[in-house]
């Protein structure tokens, strides 16, 4: 499916416009107190348009047209707010639609009580049912492979076109409903009941149906409601105060003032920001089970990463040849390459490649007659038996030593010291022998993925401590740790160690994130504040984590952290902007309201707005159109760059705080000029 859908595609737009009207329903809008107040204001001004003297007074027809204009602007303000939310939801809905398509009309071969397989609709499958899937069929529901091995196309879920291998037992046994089996045959035990499948959850998530307000969003809503209440008090009490100084303010103007002051900008965009944030996570191919998890990601203090596969490429590669005894490097390289000619493991390939770099290329053809000896856990060596009976082996140093000693040959004196040397540097030594003679050592090294150092540096700037987990010994672990630039490491780690680390960090009040895929990672994933499970991992892991990475790339956590932060920053920035706007609106409206009774207040009309009607309408129009203008920002999020918290605060305050004070002065003045030109200013 296409996750890069454009922000404003035509279909989404037209649907969003329709939705904007549907969302006028006060029952829904009441959950957003700020916009609800605007809607109430709209209703009142509408009534005042019909009867300008509804609340007493003797207003002429000009009052009616003024009320009408205010009514229209208020309506537009509400619609803009609804539109923002609808656009954000629209993208999710489009994605949900395409997901739903994969779900419909699936049939399953379910094992009946009699033991025979019969065709049933996939929607009738329950937990612990057994189904059989044959190549070319869709997997009907989430489950675990209990028999067979096959390649599966998971592109419908992950967007990744390369097929993956799924088989019984081990960490690759989980399959997802809606994916397609490409080869072989699988017997699957279903692990979910109808409606609870991964696909169902995903549809719900992208649609925003199960969206709950995140803790920070909740807190912000409270503050916004509080500010709305304060301004309500300000406006309601203004009339009697004005009355004391012999002024009168008509109701439409009071409502206009109220709507200008309450934080409509953030009120209108708040839910859109939340939805768009989740959407950004999804577009990174990460499924967050809740918005809370994404927000928590922004707060992470400690990040626990597995070494293998996350920090390092996952395989040790040959990096050096160390000859021993009287042998030269050239001799060693040649024997080492021969020993690895038919070794298809990454280690073996890396020996051949390194040999090539050293100028030694040996064709496989010249050794076709040789017998290949595979590596076994028993012997811990591999190599070739040449046609002439000579054996060539490479393998663990002590195993090779034993082989040589069994044959009564001598072990070169410098072997042990060089072995030691490699081990202290954190590498893995492989000894190479031919016949009874040890030629030297291959230095196997863990290779840190390119760019990791920079990413960890970035994390450090964000204030996140990285901890590497590895089963390696301390020395090896320390070397990789310093090479990758992580802050800390646990060597010889067992799953319980991970758990203990998470607990101790959490006890200190820190938030911990980790990624994992194995079943034995599941408890730690559940314990962590942010647990990113790999989609390739086991069902248990996916169940335990609160996020699932469809690309199975553990370093994604870094992006998720950024998105979490971005989410908060966007909310904070638009809130600040919204409140800062009020300064200019006061300068527009207050002198206008009191112009008649306190002409001296005209000194505050620093924008020199044409008339008092124009001043109020300009402020109100500015207040409305700033909402759609900020939709793109709400969708994309405020740019996040790792830097010190204070630096970022000042930067964002400068842009959104100071900008929020200045922009409306310019905007209101421009609208006033426009209204003047159009002749509306003097109605």
């Amino acid at each position: 499916m296409n996750r890069q859908s454009k922000t404003f595609s035509g279909a989404i737009m037209s649907r969003a416009i329709w939705e904007s009207f549907v969302k006028m329903d006060p029952r829904g809008l009441v959950r957003n107190p700020v916009m609800f107040v605007v809607e109430i204001g709209f209703v009142i001004t509408l009534l005042l348009t019909i009867d300008p003297n509804l609340f007493g007074g003797h207003y002429g027809p000009s009052e009616r047209s003024y009320n009408l204009i205010v009514t229209i602007i208020l309506l537009i303000t509400v619609l803009f707010g609804n539109f923002a939310e609808a656009v954000a939801e629209g993208r999710g809905k489009a994605q949900a639609e395409s997901l739903r398509k994969t779900k419909t009309d699936l049939l399953a071969n379910k094992k009946s009580d009699s033991g025979a397989y019969e065709q049933v609709p996939a929607s009738s499958l329950h937990r612990d049912d057994l189904v059989r899937v044959i190549a070319g069929e869709m997997i009907p529901a989430d489950g675990e492979v209990i028999e067979g091995l096959g390649s599966v196309d998971e592109s419908a879920i992950t967007g990744e076109s390369a097929p993956v291998i799924r088989g019984a037992g081990g960490d690759f046994s989980s399959v997802t409903g809606g994916t397609k089996l490409l080869s072989d045959e699988l017997i699957i035990r279903i692990t979910v009941d109808p409606g609870e499948s991964f696909l169902d959850k995903m549809i719900n998530l992208v649609e925003g149906a199960s969206r709950q307000k995140t803790p920070n969003e909740l807190a912000l809503s409270v503050l916004l409601a509080g500010l709305t209440l304060i301004f309500l008090i300000v406006v309601v009490t203004l009339e009697p105060m004005a009355h004391y100084v012999h002024g009168t303010i008509d109701v439409a103007t009071l409502i206009a003032l109220l709507v200008c002051l309450i934080p409509t900008t953030i009120g209108a965009l708040l839910s859109a920001i939340g939805i768009a944030g989740m959407d950004r996570v999804i577009r990174f191919n990460v499924i967050a089970k809740s918005g809370k998890a994404v927000e928590a990601a922004g707060d992470i203090n400690t990040l626990i990463l597995d070494k293998t596969g996350t920090i390092t490429i996952g395989n040790r590669l040959a990096s050096e040849f160390l000859p021993v005894g009287s042998h030269s490097e050239d001799e060693l390289v040649e024997i080492a390459v021969i020993s690895s000619l038919f070794d298809e493991t990454p280690e073996g390939r890396s020996v051949v490649d390194l040999g090539k770099d050293k100028g030694v290329t040996i064709a496989r053809e010249s050794y076709t007659s040789a017998e290949n000896v595979e590596f076994s856990a028993d012997t811990r060596v591999s190599g070739l038996n040449l046609a002439d009976g000579t054996i060539i082996r490479k393998g663990a140093v002590d195993a090779i030593k034993k082989l040589v000693q069994e044959k009564g040959a001598k072990v070169p004196g410098d072997l042990d010291s060089k072995t030691e040397h490699i081990a202290t540097e954190g590498g893995t030594p492989l000894a190479v022998m031919k016949g009874t003679d040890i030629y030297g050592l291959i230095y196997l090294k863990d290779i840190v993925k390119p760019g990791m150092r920079e990413r960890f540096a970035e994390l450090r700037k964000m204030g996140i401590k990285t901890v590497m987990c590895t089963g390696d010994n301390r020395l090896t672990a320390a070397t990789i740790a310093s090479e990758a630039g992580v802050d800390d490491f646990i060597a010889e780690a067992k799953p319980e160690d991970k758990m203990r680390l998470i607990r101790t960090e959490q006890e200190q009040g820190k938030l911990v994130a980790m990624s994992g895929d194995g079943t034995n990672d599941a408890p730690a994933l559940a314990q962590a504040d942010v647990g990113l499970a790999m989609n390739s991992g086991t069902a248990a892991a996916k169940e335990a984590g609160n996020m699932i990475d469809l690309d199975s790339d553990p370093t994604k956590l870094i992006e998720v952290v950024s998105i979490g932060k971005q989410l908060l920053i966007t909310r904070g920035a638009i809130t600040t902007f919204s409140i800062a706007n009020d300064v200019a609106k006061y300068f527009a409206i207050i002198p206008a309201i009191f112009l008649a009774v306190i002409p001296s207040l005209g000194a505050l009309n620093i924008m020199h707005l044409t008339s008092w009607h124009s001043a109020i309408l300009s402020a109100l129009i500015f207040n409305a159109i700033i909402i759609p203008l900020l939709i793109p920002l709400a969708m994309k999020g405020v740019k996040y760059r790792p830097m010190s918290a204070t630096g970022m605060l000042m930067r964002n305050l400068f842009i959104f705080g100071l900008g929020g004070v200045i922009t409306p002065f310019i905007g209101i003045k421009l609208i006033d000029l426009l209204l003047t030109v159009l002749g509306i200013a003097n109605i």
Binding site: A242, V245, D582, T646
Partner: protein, 567 residues
Amino acid sequence: MTIAGSIGILAVIALILIIGIPLGDYLYYLFRGEPSRMDKVFHPLEKWLFRAVGADPSVKMDWKAYLRALIMVNFAMMIFAYLVFRLQGVLPLNPSHIKGMPWDLAFNTAASFITNTNWQNYAGEQSMSYLGQMLGITYLQFTSAATGFVAAIAFVRGLIANRSESIGNFWVDFIRIHTRLLLPLAFVFSLILIGLGVPQTLLGPETVHTLQGVLQTISRGPVASLEAIKQLGTNGGGYYNANSAHPFENPSAISNVLEMLAMGIVSTALVWTFGRFIKNRKQAVVLYVFLTAILIIGAFIIYSNEAGGNPILQHVLGIHGSNMEGKEERFGPAMSSVFAAITTAFTTGAVNSMHDSYMPMGGFIPLLFMMFNLIFGGKGVGLLNILMFLIITVFLSGLMVGRTPEIFGKKIEAREIKLATIAMLAHPFIILVPAAIALVTKVGTSSILNPGLHGLTEVLYAYTSAAANNGSAFAGLNGNTVFYNVTLGLVMLIGRYVSLIAMFAIAGSLAKKAVIPPSAGTLRTDTFAFGGVFVAVFVIVGALTFFPALAIGPIGEQLQMWAHLLH
């Protein structure tokens, strides 16, 4: 404005800081409960007091228990004071045969003094017996200051607690603040004041034949003992109607300076104590820099307006020079201006000049300071307001740096924001709503003395003063009516206890949370950048809330004045 006057203003503010900081250290050790050399003196006394009150000093209280005890004892004392005011006519120590107060005035006065407001709808020399001054006023001036003080200390304890429920023992804190701070300071200060000319006697008024041979009745009484705690406890309720402008309350330039120091030092000290408690002196320094700067700016705005004089009088009568209407010669414009700034910044409410007669912008600053209610603020309550706005600031800025906001290692979540919003909301609500009611009702407007926009400011000032628990007044407004006695009394009580309860709830909620160690991603609150944001937030929130009212109050009046419009 003169250079000497300006230096005088700066010197007073500097002295407050110089004395406040070591006093803050003392308070820190006192409330940490660390053993000190003074224990030998105080322990036996305190032990006796604990027994007399029936409190067990070893009990640890959670926020609810602490708050319950605080509210309960405040209520008991308020009832007590009410009875004293009602019954003073039949009680002893009443040489001028002053009658008991009517119910509304007694309620207003009891509410006023229990809340540390010290708004006075009575003239002390005419409506209060010596016993009332001692057993009603002086007494509550101690305990209301102590109440605010222990509330702040309890809050700070909640802030630094790590997953704990206890925020200390109310009775221990409440008694110790009396024995180890307020009583000794007040005792020494009252003797100094007597030396400077403040009367302290139980003799009745002195009736003299003046130099011209007419009769003059000179009121006197136990003034110094009241005056001392009035200033030290940021109370502000004077013995006399003219308050600290009265030569018997504030006889000289020296006593004036000492009284300003007395108003300032304890609240200033508390900010330092807070810094010590959170183990971050720089936080206190940052707050000092910004709050002091605002205080100085405010003082100089007043000073420049007052020293500039009244342009109308210049224009119409040709009188040049400072505005001396409602000011005393021994203070002049400089010492009056800085007194006005300090009394409203520290929400004392004592006045040494009549704010009602200030230039519009001169009176605007005291009003604004009370609207902010946190330029150091009153005893304890000021610190609580500072912390309340810090929470709001931290929340907004926390969002802007992309982290769930933390204040001093404690996460700020919906519950804290809800409570802080209630505390923040209460202030404008109880100012604007009753002021609006007063301005459209006959009972409200008939008490107004000055016409035009200035009259609106009188009412606005009254409710702001009551809400901020300040007590200073645009005294032209006649507050001694049933309407004002009751509404102002209620505003004072709400202004005090709603935010206090909300802040206690925050303290309880914060105490339970774990302290998060700071990291590079933590937004530091002890930087000058953050201090600037803090100021911006409370200034903008304050300005947005009160701008319309101020625009048709002092700002409008000033603009009219410039336009040489006379009403």
